[in-house]
Amino acid sequence: MLEDNNKIKVALAGNPNVGKTTLFNAITGSKQHVGNWPGVTVEKKSGFTKYKGYDIEIVDLPGTYSLTAYSMDEIVSRNFIIEEKPDMVIQIVDASNLERNLYLTTQLMELETKIILALNMCDLATERGDKIYLNKMEEMLATPIVKTVASQEKGINHLLDKVIEERNNDQHHGHEIGYGDEIEEKIFEIEKILANDTEITEKYPLRWMSIRLLEGDENIKDKVNKSSVASKINDVLDSIDQEEYEADIADKRYSTINIIFPQICTRANQVLTKSDMIDRVLTNKYLGIPIFLSLMWGAFELTFAFATPFMDMIEIAFTWLAGMVSTNLQPAWLASLVGDGIIAGVGSVLIFVPNIFILFFLLSLLEGSGYLARAAFIMDRLMYKIGMHGKSFIPMLMGFGCNVPAIMAARSIEDDRDRLITILVVPFVSCGARLPIYILFAGTFFGRQAGTVIFAMYVLGILVAVASAKLFRLTVIKGKPAPFIMELPPYRVPKLKSALIHMWDNGAMYIKKAGTIILLGVTIIWILASFPWGVEYGSESSYVGIIGHLFEPFLRPLGFDWRISVALVFGFVAKEIVVGSIGVLFGVGDNQEALSQSLLADPGITPLNSMSLMVFSLLYMPCVAAMSVIKKETGSWKWTIFAILYGVAVAWIMAFVVYQGGKLLGY
């Protein structure tokens, strides 16, 4: 085992908002790997560092308050510690909030793993006038403790020294909590039964498992029910008042902490903290909502102000590149595949990248500052009424910029069903790419009313999203939104480094994962537009044209002819392509002015048709980029296909109502 002697595997645990990510970034720098935990959409981050001849692997566990089975985060964390058996766990403890942080410590200790506490944000605590007696704390908890200020990268080497020291220390330590005679008796009884099952004995700490069973942990119950001792365990569990035990055990943990706490820390008299004062304004009864809306508006303005020049550059670059290829590459079909297909396709993927990067950067700043939790707090009542969670609001709002980062941002919603609903309704929020369609048709046919018509489209998108959320709650995703039991963390100055890393991770993930599906999508569209062999690209006799004709009867009741059908098929790649393809199909190319003229002159397109078309374009299906992130974030083709079919169905019905209703009214 010599070759393993210098390898150390460390798990990083801790409550949310205690500087865990900052510490992780400080230790590992850029040597990080981001992925998902197997089988779930919980993000897994690991990183490496070399220190004094050791290779240290750090696995960043999701931030949790506890290790019960409340969320996937908690299950993932404890499974990692039990099953992968890291050499030790570093728990980051917020020095300014010891009581709640130590609650997690008590649970980690029951997992029978080595623990080092990184006492973080000591600066905040000291500033406030708290006194923490480190030696006493080490003694009472029987774990090594290292002071860190992760935000200033202080104490990192000391922490790593401790990791190496602990690695070479065979002594097991850590004080476990005693739960009092009655509960201890039951724990002992269950432990004895569990000990008869070799498989369980090998894998799990028995005392921990017994406590979890007494607390009614479903996840552990499932495991025991599959074992040889299931019936005996259930006999014991049936004989007790579960609810009583559950409360008593949590109570005991906190009361033990209450006994320890005054001996290791004297807390300064709590006057109003800075954070409390900020909150008096930001979540004020009257000011809270206006401030929230202005901040969001500001974030959007900023996103577009910064993204637009980059988007223009990307567009120019790809247009130039496509032009180069189509003039210089032989044979012509290859030039078309590379130019019209691949380069145009990659361009349509990359055009969103500036938006995505900036939105994630701002989102990360908002999150790091602590404001994101307040945004959810402010909007929860409204969201709850429509069957959603306060945390769904920000992703929905981001949807107005681009649905892709919006769907990705839904990851911050812990509850699976809340997240799924959010992902499914975001595509109805009218993203920036749909605006050119409205501008063309509303501008051409509605003159001075154009602004009102465009505004109506945005409102319609919101209404459909809301109605769909309600409908899903009553049908396919039954139940109420998850409870809103959420910490409102103290405000802090967000860390630029963390925001940049967060931005990079998400942007890169979009390019990598979404890119492949999008490339596939655009290649298929290109094939359809170019074949049968020899037809003009995207013309009536190409497969796309044929499909357009095929769909025509289906779309005729909405007032669309085959040309519109073709444009809508192209719109699946990216909605802004709809305008371009209509231009091609009406034989005027990119010239908007000429396109307006020929639309007006065309007897097949009336104001009513165009209204119906705008409604359909708004709703009919997410673009291929959005679709690919739906697939990625839900991890399910079933829900991805559902999203597409549902979107098409809603779009068809709404456009039908508009068109046929309009005709009945004599428009």
Binding site: Y103, T283, K285, F484
Partner: protein, 82 residues
């Protein structure tokens, strides 16, 4: 005397401090989550404010700020402290 001060968490006024007596929230996983966050019998809790739209509520407990909807707060029994 005691009984007159007994109420549920949702009825507190901003600034009111109370001691938690019993958590009767239905659903074992929600209850456990509340326990995990420090909502256990004996803990002291203070209502800081209501959200601008009236719900959820923001409390101070164990030195940090926690937000809970009225719906859950209704099932948490407390004794108001002077």
């Amino acid at each position: 005397m005691l009984s007159t001060n007994e109420t549920t968490l949702d009825t507190l006024k901003p600034g009111d401090k109370a001691k938690i007596l019993k958590v009767r929230v239905k659903g074992s996983s929600i209850r456990r989550k509340l326990f995990d966050m420090g909502i256990v019998a004996g803990s002291e809790i203070q209502l800081i404010r209501r959200a601008p739209l009236g719900d959820p509520l923001e409390f101070k407990i164990k030195g940090y700020n926690l937000s809970i909807r009225k719906m859950e707060a209704r099932d948490i029994f407390v004794q108001v402290l002077e």
